[in-house]
Symmetry: none
Subunit: 401 residues, 2 copies
């Protein structure tokens, strides 16, 4: 179902929907036949929601596809990540919460090393440490070119983001300058369409100045550009689902994904407990609230099964307080699986529960991978979960007569 078709059904209501995301929730058993992290965790409150509500599993992107954090969250917001694909530069800028404006061009960039002939000797400038790279990025932030404001923000080691704010609208269809191998000079930023010619010219001009300013450096004496992209012109979450939307997250990437869809995003301290007052204080002003809890993903990435179990139990503990605030419909799920046995995101389907509204019968009596497989929703796509939650909140009109 296309988002415009859903948007056409959105109807007003005074119901409130809460999306509580436990990042990297999905997991795998530590040993064959054993429980997953979620199944091993003691989650009496989530189990109660699962018992009273309905359960299922979702593929954030598609079966077999390991989601990045951006696509995983877009899916949970009801935006099919196979249709709504943000450029890499934009995702990188969102990840450091750069306040992108419409028309901005964002680019993933990194320092590289050129040899005396101008060929690339190291595509990552020997992965120079952050303390060395950060001042260089600050220096590049001072570059001034005609026709655009330029912003450089260091990320980590050799990586940084370049944002161009052109004075006149210009396209983002510009090729990478990183040829992907050493022994060759960097490529020119080549426009793929007429609209993007000004952008290519601006990037070329900017790169000339980079070359001048970095010429004295031993390792980081040039920059390579990839993923030139512009902030997409998508419908907002409110356009799509008719709900005024807000978010609370400790990490910029998730606030960035939320603001990309026009949500009002608040900064909170890390952990589950700070999400409660953030939700309570702003409950009245919004119809939809997205709460992001990072810890399960971090523990999974670190390969720490027990710490991921503890993080899920931390998430469970605040559920009664969240319910007390008064949401009509609650969705609890993850943006992807991060099994601690894999120490990374994975393609496995992610458990979800929907509590509130007119729920059908559901055999799932606890919240876990195995129970959710028996759930009323079966295995669906991540972007369908929000539509189900919206329906449960009485916010979707009938399709056709």
């Amino acid at each position: 179902m296309r988002l415009e078709q859903t948007a056409a059904l959105a109807q007003a209501s005074d119901t409130k929907v809460l999306l509580y995301v436990l990042d990297g929730l999905g997991g795998l058993p530590r040993e064959p036949g054993g429980p997953t992290e979620l199944e091993a965790a003691s989650t009496p409150n989530l189990d109660e929601l699962a018992l009273a509500g309905t359960c299922g599993l979702h593929h954030p992107v598609a079966a077999g596809v390991t989601p990045g954090s951006g696509p995983g969250h877009l899916a949970l917001f009801g935006f099919d990540p196979l249709t709504y694909e943000a450029g890499r530069g934009v995702l990188e800028a969102l990840g450091i919460e750069f306040p992108l404006e419409p028309g901005d061009i964002a680019v993933r960039a990194n320092f590289c090393t050129l040899d005396a002939d101008g060929n690339i000797a190291d595509r990552r400038a020997g992965r120079i440490p952050t303390e060395e790279a950060a001042p260089l990025a600050e220096m590049l932030d001072e570059i001034w070119i005609e026709g655009a404001s330029c912003f450089v923000r260091h990320i980590k080691e050799h990586r940084f983001v370049l944002v161009l704010r052109p004075e006149a609208a210009s396209g983002a269809a510009v090729d990478d300058t990183d040829p992907g191998r050493t022994g060759e000079p960097p490529l020119r930023p080549w426009p793929r369409d007429e609209d993007s010619e000004p952008t290519a010219w601006l990037l070329d001009t900017w790169l000339e100045q980079v070359r001048d300013r970095l010429s004295g450096e031993a390792r980081a004496n040039m920059a390579l550009l990839r993923g030139v992209s512009s902030r997409p012109r998508w419908p907002s979450f409110e356009d799509a689902f008719g709900m005024r939307a807000a978010a609370a997250a400790a990490y910029p990437m998730y606030r960035g994904a939320a603001t990309l869809l026009g949500m009002d995003a608040a900064i909170v301290e890390d952990g589950a407990a700070p999400l409660v007052p953030a939700y309570r204080d702003r409950f009245d002003a919004y119809d939809f609230f997205f709460l992001h809890f990072k810890s399960p993903d971090k523990a999974g990435e670190d390969g720490d099964f027990d710490r991921k179990v503890a993080a899920i139990e931390e998430a469970d503990a605040i559920v009664p307080e969240l319910l007390e605030i008064g949401p009509d419909v609650v969705v609890v799920t993850g943006d992807h699986a991060t099994p601690s046995t894999l120490e990374s995101h994975s393609w496995h389907p992610v458990p979800f529960l929907i509590h509130g509204g007119a729920a059908q019968g559901d055999p799932a009596t606890s919240f876990g991978e195995g129970a959710c497989l028996q759930g009323a929703h079966g295995i669906i796509r991540g972007c369908d979960v929000m539509r189900l939650a919206t329906a449960r909140a009485g916010r979707l009109a009938k399709f056709g007569a």
Copy 2:
């Protein structure tokens, strides 16, 4: 899978397929943990079909979407309602079984009240009663304009249908004249493309005459138009599935949906029993038969759990007689859920069973929401059910070499 892709696989056979639709079949428990209407009903015959056949649940439109009757039936006929979206005017005309011809333009219309300044005082003319509105509609049916035949058919209270039959082909991309609020004059019917300019002009001319003829009325002194649409140029059911198709239904809406796809639709008396002779008498002449039974939906809409149970039992009682007539494959399902607890259509997935042909093993031993969730088909889209039935009837060739 696109309909043309299915159509390309249709192969001849002498098998017969029966689609038996229990309108609004899907339901919800009256109390948590209790049975749904279908589960509470005693349905020995349907249970036997479920035991010997295969079961599943379907979303007529998409997860979370509450289907109207038109889209719900299109889905069961194998036409994806997200692709095959009939205009509101056409659905309204089908609902009263107006014999739409190709090229006809159908419009939802209603009487409204204009104040002395020509602004809308009441968008529904105070919901004037049918006995007052019907003669006015008859008067409007007499309007004659140059370039098109015009037909007005009263529906109920302030609502009626206008059908234009233009002498020369003309588009239906014309805006509503209902501004959606009072205190403003009606809008002009505005064409959204060049093809639709003649239609807009015809509607404008027609509206002028309406204003003249209704000028003496206190309440219904003007008409508002919405959902201008033309009978879609879709493949017929026979084009898509290679089966000569007929229908029997007591209510015009369902005969209308069937005839939209070229089915030969017979009028029957209300109730389950009259479907048996209607099927028997025409069994030989058709490959596919659609039988429509309205009562479960009506009981659900009325919030009467027990009457819906009784209606489902009435539907069950004729199953042996239907089987005796000799269909090779039988599908039993609903076009949407109408839980009596909600007193309306709902988005909940609808149980279905397929009996006959080469069936895989299936744990479902009775016909009900809970059993179907365990069924061999899982939860699928409504438009996929007909393809499964066609395959079971040996009427779909191999895809690719």
